[in-house]
């Protein structure tokens, strides 16, 4: 019997390594396209850099700032995107 191994990612995620470059690019693009569905939800978030705990301030229609301020840690928009990946 095969010894158990700690699993970090799904078999589907790890299957990327078996894709050709063309398959990987096609899947990557398809994922990015589907991930646009969450643009409204993550419009003020950051996924990289030193501002990932902030919401971007956006001017309201009248010019005043709305939003802004610190967001709770570990609630990045990226996490929500996992729900729309793997749409093959």
């Amino acid at each position: 019997m095969k010894a158990p191994q700690d699993a970090f990612l799904s078999e589907e995620d790890l299957d990327f390594r078996n894709m050709t470059d063309e398959e990987l690019l096609a899947h990557w693009d398809a994922w990015l396209l589907q991930a646009q569905a969450t643009n409204d939800q993550d419009q003020d978030t950051y996924t990289h850099g030193v501002f990932v705990t902030l919401s971007e301030r956006r001017p309201a229609k009248g010019g005043a700032a709305v939003g802004g301020g610190a967001r709770p840690l570990d609630e990045r928009g990226e996490q929500r995107h996992r729900g729309v990946q793997r749409g093959r």
């Binding site: 990327f16 990015l32 990045r76």
Partner: protein, 270 residues
């Protein structure tokens, strides 16, 4: 539609590096190139810390119709303080976000210099798995499974031992390379638990992950606190930029940030 979107992050990386190496693809999109999960729709690059390199990148983004998001100016004075700059544009059906640093966290200067040397001949420069694992030691839980898989990609057992997130993998390494475990304990204290039960080692891994998360939270807090005045100023800066071409907007951002956003964030008390 897909052909329009095809490999936008690869296209951008090529454009950033046209004629000279200026940008190394990092973070989530680098993870994809290493054959692991797609987890982020934004792009992140490490840039050369020179005025010419940053100006070239601004030019590429200007041609794409990018605008500044809140962040530091893409200017050497702030970049060398570890700040990040953020932009956004539309590409057909896609909202593309591009994030930049020149001093990525947890990469010492000599290691960063070596990364630039190693990537100099690559068509698509990309952060390698070992350094990517260091960059992924963030405050986000979801980055730690990625580190676990990146560690399994490493050929050097020393690096595997330093980065593995698996108790079983570490126990195997301890059997195969006991001398390395002894040697590396001072770099990674949890290795002292590697000969104990898997439960103990797993608890040590959990504790180490929490320590790394909190360390990154402290690092980010320095920047957020140092940016407080700039955060308040941003709506008026944004209004002034309006629909300016990016380089013109950049001049406004840099002028307005001077004296408001410190080049280097001061240390904060614990």
């Amino acid at each position: 539609m897909l052909s329009t979107a095809m490999s936008i992050y690869l296209d951008l990386t090529r454009e950033f590096n046209a004629g000279a190496l200026r940008a190394i693809l990092s973070s989530g999109q680098a993870v994809v190139l290493h054959g692991l999960a797609v987890m982020s729709k934004d792009g992140d690059w490490i840039l050369r810390e020179t005025e010419a390199a940053l100006d070239h990148v601004l030019g590429v983004l200007e041609r794409r119709g990018a605008r500044y998001r809140f962040g530091a100016p893409l200017d050497v004075r702030w970049m060398r303080g570890g700040w990040s700059s953020h932009f956004e544009f539309r590409e057909g059906p896609l909202r593309i976000r591009t994030d930049f640093v020149t001093r990525p966290p947890r990469l010492p200067p000599d290691d960063l210099a070596a990364l630039w040397r190693e990537q100099s001949s690559r068509t698509i420069p990309v952060v390698d798995p070992r350094r990517l694992a260091e960059l992924k030691k963030t405050n986000r839980e979801k980055d730690y499974p990625i580190i676990g898989e990146l560690a399994r990609m490493l050929e050097d057992p020393r690096q595997q031992i330093l980065l593995s997130r698996s108790a079983r993998d570490l126990a195997s390494q301890a059997q195969a390379h006991p001398e390395l475990i002894r040697e590396l304990i001072h770099e990674r204290p949890l290795l002292a638990s590697v000969r104990k039960s898997l439960d103990v080692l797993e608890a040590a891994l959990d504790a180490e992950r929490r320590d790394l998360i909190h360390a990154n939270e402290r690092r980010l807090r320095r920047y957020v606190e140092a940016a407080e005045a700039w955060t308040s100023r941003w709506p008026s800066v944004q209004s002034e930029m309006g629909a300016m071409p990016l380089r013109q907007a950049h001049a406004v951002v840099a002028a307005k940030a001077a004296g408001v956003l410190p080049f280097e964030p001061p240390e904060v008390s614990p």
